[in-house]
Each structure stands twice: as structure tokens, then as C-alpha cells.
Amino acid sequence: MKWTMTLRNHLTELEPMRDRLSKLMQKQSLPETVVADILLIAEEVLVNIVTHAYDDEAEHLIGLSGTVSDHDLWLEFRDDARPFNPLELPEPDLDTSIQSRDLGGLGIYLVTQLADQLRYSRQDGMNVLAVRKILSRRQKNTFG
């Protein structure tokens, strides 16, 4: 199954996106743990785009599409902001104590840890980030 949705670059778009995405995944009877991971990945990537990616105040559209097969799920994010590869971000320093830790950079780090595979490319002036979650058939039956 495939789906596509389009969001404006505004944080108020997150809640409706979350509801739609979660309904789409429930229809596919995906395991709850996968649904939870995907919702978190979507929130973190989109927040990052909306809050950091644009150099102007104009309205921009962000594409979010998904492809589900028997064995995996791909989420794809497309934005027309300046070239930015989130996979090149340095990892946050997780070993220092919380007192001296910088609290930024955690969102994308969560994405890299929850995804099974990530791909970034620049296509036709767009940043394209594809995120893969592997599904196992056995997991599929445990939903609900």
C-alpha cells in the first residue's frame, strides 16, 4: 500500500498528521511497537524541518509518503529547503552527565536509532529523506 500527504511548514500540522498516519497504519494492522516508532520518527523529522530548515518566512509544503509491503515500511519526507543531510549531524554526546549536556540534537538521534535504514538524497532541488522499518510477519499477528 502507498499513501502521500502534504503538510505546511507549521507545527500545528503535526497533530492532524499524527492522527492520519496512525489511522493509516492501524488499517494495515502494523504492530503497536512499529506504529509508535513511526509516529516518533515522523514527529522528529517534521519538527526539525519546520523549525530549522527554512531561511524565509514563506509558506512551504512538505511531502510525507509511505509504502508498506509484507516485510517493510518506508517513510519518505520531501522538503524544498536548503540542502541539508540530517545523517551528517554529529551524534549528541550521551556520555557526559545531564548537567553539562547540550539538550539539542536528540530528535534526529532518536530517528537514526529507531530506523532500520536511512537514505538521504537531493532530488530536483528537494531534500529527500527515506526511513525504513523492517516488519516481521510474526509481529504482525500480535497487534491488538
Binding site: 509508535a36 550521551l94 539538550l103 536528540l106 532518536l110
Partner: protein, 122 residues
């Protein structure tokens, strides 16, 4: 609103914060707002009851970290109790809290606090 925050003073200078729902980009500012007066008060211990928290994102983590930083600076303590698996997973990934401040139950936390108190009075 998909987050409910309840604050109870359980002892003098000890508050329990019960989080119910989702702590994300949308709801984190609500918790931050409600926490502010508490963090400016003489409270020395905050226990976050996470039994009904089903989801946390980096925005939520940042609010909890800030609370912890503020209390640590006053030599206070923050504890998390009853984390659901999805929330626990996120905490594990970011190594957010030293394991000693996360407890599976209140009993476990009480035992730990009793033990620390005995150690101090010995």
C-alpha cells in the same frame, strides 16, 4: 489537549507529578509551564509518575531534563516511576537518566530512599 498534568505535594518539599497522555512537541510547553512555579519553589524532590504516559518525543525529554538540571543544581532529586515500554525505550536510547533515578514501582523507589536515608544516618 492530549496531556494531563497533575501535581500533588506528597510530603513537605516533595511533589509528585502524574503525566497522563502524550508528551510531544504539542504538549511539552504545557508541562514546562506547570513545572515552572514548582522549580522556583523550595521543593527538593520531584517524582514523575509515568504509568499513563504512552509517548514521549525529544521535546518532552528536554522539559524533563531541564527539570532535572534545575533540581540537581539545588542538590535536589528527580525520579521517574512506572515507565511504559515505549517511553523506556526512548530513555534507553538517549541514556537520559542514570539508572538509579528510574524505578519500576513506588515500592522500589521507597526501598531505595529508605536505604539512602539509613546510609546517611549511619
Amino acid at each position: 489537549m492530549s496531556l494531563k498534568v497533575q501535581i500533588d505535594e506528597i510530603k513537605s518539599r516533595v511533589s509528585k507529578i502524574t503525566l497522563d497522555g502524550r508528551l510531544d512537541t504539542h504538549t511539552s510547553p504545557l508541562l514546562e509551564q506547570q513545572l515552572a512555579p514548582l522549580l522556583n519553589s523550595p521543593v527538593t524532590m520531584i517524582v514523575f509518575d509515568m504509568s499513563n504516559l504512552t509517548y514521549i518525543s525529544s521535546a518532552g525529554l528536554r522539559v524533563l531534563f531541564k527539570a532535572r538540571k534545575t533540581l540537581d543544581a539545588k542538590h535536589g532529586k528527580t525520579f521517574m516511576v512506572n515507565l511504559q515500554p515505549q517511553v523506556q525505550k526512548v530513555f534507553d536510547i538517549v541514556k537520559a537518566m542514570p539508572s538509579v533515578s528510574i524505578f519500576r514501582s513506588y515500592e522500589e523507589m521507597d526501598e531505595y530512599l529508605d536505604y539512602m536515608q539509613r546510609k546517611e544516618t549511619e
